[in-house]
């Protein structure tokens, strides 16, 4: 645990190009008479171009933290800066992807991708080309005029990814975007996403409860846990890019996953007998 904190400190002092700065942010939901503490206190810096995963079991406040970054929920304590200005409300320099594709069922894939352009009142003709490019990039060339009902779950989520990128936001926020998909499609989507990000460089904050997914995609994995929750581990992923499936077969990958799992288990009281090990982050490498 001590090591984890040290790592968090180290991450916070990364060079001053940090795009997202989350400082002691907490959130308590008030519903009627009860107060539900969702996030106790979380601090995190994300540098430009970084891919950071928020990893943790269900209910540990990952979505809440992400929605606060998006300006869709207001923190009850602390503050969030994006590109140097405080996040007080939703803003245009963000692209969001949810667990469900949330496409308009009566619009074609292409029109769905262009939806943010219409809402933001940007010139449609200037983004048409980009919309086609994005759809081709995710393997949906030829499907531009299909409606969501004619696409598979994975294809719909690809359309949602294109939609989140169309207005060229600085940062992409993804809330368990692939957890509604079957395991095989999910693996394909992970590869597809890392390929997309090789072309369209973006800063990404990615929420997941899948350890392997987090490890495969991320530059850094941030583990959330505890009750009420906070950040309990901030760990860089040492695997080279571009990443392909083969990464998952390396011993190093397995060790990283193991450490992440032990950290989560320790925080939630299911730790095996060797549970003093999670701090063994330094043992790796």
């Amino acid at each position: 645990m001590a090591t984890a904190t040290a790592r968090t400190e180290a991450a916070r002092t990364t060079p001053d190009g940090s795009l997202v700065s989350i400082r002691s942010v907490g959130k308590t939901y008030f519903t009627g008479s009860s107060a539900i503490p969702a996030v106790a206190s979380a601090s995190l810096e994300v540098a430009r171009g970084e891919f950071v995963s928020l990893l943790g079991p269900s209910g540990c406040g990952k979505s809440t933290l992400l929605m606060m970054i998006a300006g869709l929920e207001k923190p009850t304590s602390g503050a969030i800066d994006l590109l140097g200005s405080p996040v007080l409300a939703p803003r245009r320099d963000i692209g969001i992807i949810f667990q469900d594709a949330t496409l308009l069922p009566w619009k074609s894939a292409l029109e769905n991708v262009l939806f943010p352009i219409r809402i933001l009142k940007l010139p449609l003709d200037r983004y048409m080309q980009r919309a086609h490019e994005l759809l081709a990039m995710v393997g949906l060339a030829g499907f531009e005029h299909k409606k969501p009902g004619e696409l598979s779950g994975g294809m719909r989520q690809r359309v949602a990814i294109c939609r989140s990128l169309i207005h060229d936001p600085d940062i992409l926020l993804m809330d368990e975007p692939f957890s509604a998909l079957d395991a095989i499609t999910r693996d394909q989507m992970n590869v597809a996403l890392s390929e997309i990000l090789e072309t369209y460089k973006k800063t990404v904050i990615f929420v997941t409860h899948s350890i392997r997914e987090a490890a495969f995609l991320s530059d850094r994995v941030v583990v959330m846990g505890g009750r009420p929750s906070g950040i309990i581990l901030d760990m860089p992923m040492p695997f080279p890019r571009p990443r392909r499936f083969e990464v998952e077969e390396t011993v190093e990958f397995t060790q990283v996953c193991r450490e992440l799992r032990l950290t989560i288990e320790a925080a939630h009281g299911h730790a095996p007998s060797t549970h003093a090990a999670p701090a063994g982050a330094s043992v790796i490498e």
Binding site: L72, I119, K146
Partner: protein, 274 residues
């Protein structure tokens, strides 16, 4: 990339049951038409064989002959009924959608209006028709007002349900894109409520006609409702049946217009491919 998505994009829908569906489509036309024809033939045969007097039950053929011969009179009465029904329906639609917007966007309006609307629906509203004559006179105003009164309710209920059934995720997406309430309404809420609105409209159009006919029963100098009452009072069953047939045709016409409007809307707002 192509390899990884191959399995997915290859999943093109093939429907071997397409031919069966065409046969089922044909059957769905032939069966009801056949039954209707059977009933008409049975009716004609019964009236002829049993020698039923025309005052009690005129035969289908004699009704048809009357309609062909006196279409001018029937038309004169059909026009005010159809026009008033259409006006009543359009007003009910406008009022219904406006109330639905109010209920959707204002919590106060929702809490104040909704229980009252549901309570109102429990009243047998036809019983109130004579009051409309007292309040608004014997002109077309009272008939249209009564028609609106009984027709707007299904529009409010269906439209409100449509507005509130919008996917929460899409609303959140709109919020994240800093969409204005107007943008959300025009590009998300209204289109996704359209199927609901049309199902409300289909009920409303028949109720609007009923409202006008009841008004004409009570007081009118023209209209199919007036003709039915007038002819029945003179034991002229043939005329009254002819008027009912024309009324059915007018009703079908109005309903058809709503159905056509729905088909046009579906071209833009259906989840199915064109």
């Amino acid at each position: 990339m192509a390899a990884t998505i191959g399995t997915e994009t290859g999943a093109v829908l093939v429907n071997p049951a397409a031919r069966n569906r065409a046969a089922a489509g044909l059957r769905s036309i032939v069966l009801p038409l056949g039954l209707a024809l059977f009933v008409l033939v049975a009716w004609q045969t019964y009236v002829t064989v049993a020698n039923i007097p025309s005052v009690i039950l005129p035969s289908p053929i004699s009704i048809a002959k009357y309609i062909v011969a006196r279409y001018d009179i029937l038309l004169i009465h059909a026009i005010p009924t159809t026009v008033e029904s259409a006006v009543g329906f359009l007003l009910a639609l406008a009022l219904g959608v406006l109330l639905a917007i109010l209920i959707t966007y204002s919590e106060v309006a929702r809490e104040a209006l909704y229980p009252n609307l549901v309570f109102f629906q429990l009243i047998p509203k036809i019983a109130l028709a004579p009051l409309f004559i007292i309040w608004l006179g014997i002109g077309s105003t009272s008939r249209i007002a009564f028609s609106v009164f009984i027709a707007f309710f299904p529009v409010v209920i269906a439209t409100t349900a449509g507005f509130l059934s919008v996917d929460k995720g899409i609303l959140r997406l709109c919020r994240s894109l800093t969409a204005t309430e107007w943008q959300v309404f025009t590009s998300v809420r209204f289109p996704s409520a359209l199927p609901h609105i049309f199902s409300g409209m289909k009920i409303a159009i028949t109720l609007a006609i009923i409202g006008v006919i009841i008004g004409e029963f009570i007081t009118a100098q023209a209209g199919l409702g007036y003709l039915i009452i007038f002819a029945t009072a003179r034991a002229d069953t043939e005329v009254s049946m002819a008027a009912i047939v024309v009324l059915c045709i007018c009703g079908l016409l109005l309903y058809g217009l709503v159905a056509v409007a729905e088909m046009i809307a579906n071209r833009f707002y259906s989840a199915d491919s064109r």
